[in-house]
Amino acid sequence: MRFAYLIVVILFCQGLYIILTKSNLIKMIMGFSIAESALIMLLVLIGYREGGTVPIIYRDFSTVVDPIPQALALTAIVIGASITAVMLAFTIKIHKKYGTIDLNEIKELRNQ
């Protein structure tokens, strides 16, 4: 069970590495999405209980998984999708202006 947290850390660091090192804007957006999915996984893991059932109470239950992190995960998914959409729209704008989406080339074009 503890190893699942390790996977979350590895996924998040992968996303962070992509954001920091890649110069292609589309790849950067992919990095954001990977880091975000790691966060959603973390929320699901925090709410997990050993042997818990789904938090829909229609009969007698012994253990139920924590419903609060699931509600927060829904918020995270909605906000993440919206932010991805805005980033893609800005990428379209940048490509229209400079003709490229590589950050290094954009830097050179701006220095001219």
Binding site: L6, L16, P55, V64, A71, I92
Partner: protein, 229 residues
């Protein structure tokens, strides 16, 4: 050589995160215990995630829906072009016929997810995304002109505004009834027998408003992003 600094930063971050996450998290969970034990009695909704989203923390959900509204308006403002040439792919008649066959089922699935959001997994956001898929399928297979004809931009923006206004009006009813904004059981709403389709007071109405709003908003976002010179 330049890539060594991000690596150092990431290793520091990873070791910190492992140090924080690996020991057993043993905080008290009194709030979730309370929600699990008396959530059904308080709200009349058997799906506790929906109960938290639309009753206990309904104001957060209003914020979420506002984020989608803001993103839709920002994207239509950023990309105001009226033509779309990105979707120039031609599909065989098989694809078109299958899409036409699938769409009524998608409508039913979307509205089922919205209306049964307080009884089973699903809810306003999930159902709204399924409804937005219809517009996306129309745009991809038949082109944007057909999609605009079937579900026009004006109708979409009207639906989005209607969803948001309905949400806020239902919230204001709670204020008029002498309780908090978005009050459910404390205001005059009858909670009904929990487990029925018509139960939970305001929760099914808020689900419907959110579903309409999210579906129209996501459809506007996609149809705006596919446009270009």
């Amino acid at each position: 050589m330049k890539k060594i600094y991000p690596l150092i930063l990431i290793f520091t971050f990873a070791s910190l995160a492992i140090f924080l996450l690996l020991p057993e998290i043993s905080g008290s969970r009194t709030l979730s215990e309370y929600y699990i034990n008396s959530g059904v009695k308080d709200t009349g909704v058997i799906n506790l995630v929906t109960a938290i989203l639309f009753d206990y923390r309904g104001f957060d959900t209003l914020g979420e829906a506002t984020v989608i509204f803001g993103v839709a308006s920002a994207i239509t403002f950023l990309i105001p072009k009226r033509k779309a040439s990105m979707t120039s792919a031609r599909f065989s008649p098989i694809v078109n016929q299958i899409i036409k066959l699938v769409i009524p089922f998608l409508v039913i699935l979307g509205f089922y997810l919205i209306f049964y959001g307080h009884l089973s997994p699903g809810g306003g956001f999930t159902g709204g995304v399924v409804l937005a898929t219809i517009s996306i399928l129309f745009t991809i297979t038949f082109g944007i002109a057909y999609s605009q004809k079937m579900w026009s931009y004006k109708a979409k923006s009207l639906m989005e505004s209607f969803g948001g206004m309905t949400f806020i009006s239902i919230g204001l009813i709670g204020v008029v009834a002498g309780s908090n904004f978005l009050a459910n059981g404390q205001a005059m709403f009858a909670l009904g027998k929990s487990g029925d389709l018509l139960s939970g007071g305001t929760v099914p109405l808020l689900n419907l408003a959110t579903g309409i709003k999210v579906g129209a908003g996501l459809a506007i976002i996609f149809n705006s992003m596919i446009k270009e010179d």
